[in-house]
Amino acid sequence: MHPAFSVIFFTVTSGAGYALMGLLALLNFLYLGMLIDKSTFFIISSISVILFTIGLVSSTFHLANPKNAWRAFMRFRTSWLAREGLLAIIFYPILFLYLYFVFIDYQIENFMFMQMYSCFILFLSLLIIYCTGMIYACLKTIPQWNTFWTPVNYITIGLFLGSLLLFLLLILNNYNVEQYKLHLIVIIITALTTKLIYYFNIRSPKHNIGQATNAAIKLKNTSVRLLDVGHTGGTFLTDEFGFKVKEKKLLRIKLFSIFCGFFAPLILICIYCYLYEDVLLCFFAFILAFLGMIAERWLFFAQAKHVVNLYHGSQNV
């Protein structure tokens, strides 16, 4: 699949933004609203809102007809894209009301209600990331996406970036992060593990030319060779689905995303936690992780092969 930068940027930043908000709500829940003071709460939640808003705006850049983008919520009963869009929009008023309640110290009087509200914010933010993952995972035409591990990866990577950012922001606001060190390391390892499982899962092709063309001409187990695609120039199909990268380049980017995106931040965070406390380490860890995840998302597209390629001479996808 052609990797559109706007979509790559959208999925990474909005995933990080929603996860950051969800984790902040989780902290508020776990520490009974006592842990974080209002100004820090405000800073962290605004960064989260900025992140997912930039993401959502950038997602509209790949539309060929953005003036109809407002219609994107209409078919939420069947379309994961519409569900994602709808939830992303209704998240705003729900979140702003939540932030308002936090600021007027509503949780002191209505403790149970605010505890439930915090859980709801966490649930909703994870649900939105899940919907983003399902946009891709529901497509049976792209075997590399049509797996359970796609939404799992979206959630774990969202949580990975969100927790790293939350960790950094708490340090910058002079909070004691002692008790989150282990949590963060576990989240990074989980994200890495689920991603590696995904790569293992998609290693072998799921469809081959035999299934595509032979099914039509009922000549099972015979060779089918493309003679002519029937067009002299590029078409919409070759532009959109004919994206091919050399295996070597894919491997290079995969190694980059794994080492720069997962291992380097993991090492930096471990150094910060157990050897040498310098906030710059966390800052670099986040920057490296973000770049690594952009590369990871690029790979997610570049590695995906649409079944229509079978008709264009690919022997398998």
Binding site: M1, H62, L63, A64, N65, P66, K67, N68, A69, R71, A72, F73, M74, R75, F76, T78, S79, W80, L81, A82, G85, I135, C138, L139, K140, T141, I142, Q211, A212, T213, A215, A216, I217, K218, L219, T222, S223, V224, R225, L226, L227, D228, V229, G230, H231, T232, G233, G234, T235, F236, L237, E240, F241, H306, V307, V308, Y311, H312
Partner: protein
Amino acid sequence: MKLGLIVDLDKCVGCNACAIACKQWNTSGTSGSLSDYRPYGPDPSGVFFNRIRHYEVDSYPNNKTVHFPMSCMHCEEAACVTVCPTGASYKREEDGIVLVDPEKCMGCNYCAWACPYGARELDREEGVMKKCTLCVDRIYDENLPESERKPACVMTCPTTARYFGDFDDPNSEVSKISSQREGQELFSELGYKPVNKYLSPRKKVEIKQHEVKEPDLVKKVKDWVNKVVEL
């Protein structure tokens, strides 16, 4: 009604007339125009609803060229309609034709991703998704004589390799042909229940290969004796 096409792969000669007739009719039809990009430039491209690919099947001496026209299959379980977030893609209740409402389409390409047949084409000039309409603006036109109320591709096919009709009616031409010759569905394993059917090429007459046989022992001995005697 379940309107759709049958393509007879035995008859198709790969002349591309259907693709051209389709483009000609539809560029001034309901989803027209079908934009051309750089038509006189070095790398011309453009929107087509019908594409014909050519394959070589099997290997010598059983090999055969199969011309393979593909357009929208008007699936019963159309994934393109399911995934469309705006409601621009829809499947008509009355005849099963899958259409796009250009007023609603936002050009997100999602339906094209969901379609395994590559039947959808984004018109980059207009920014909306377009597709085969099964010539909906032709098949119901009462100004046309009844014999011409067919999609342009079917009308034009010089070898009558294409049939159009209602698959819901067991007595229709397409239903009969499809059941007689076991009409095949593309990518049936994906479960989208494509309406269009493909008729497999009939089995080719086998071409006998005359292989030079290894001479038997008696002949070998005779040859050897002859050789010796000649000396």
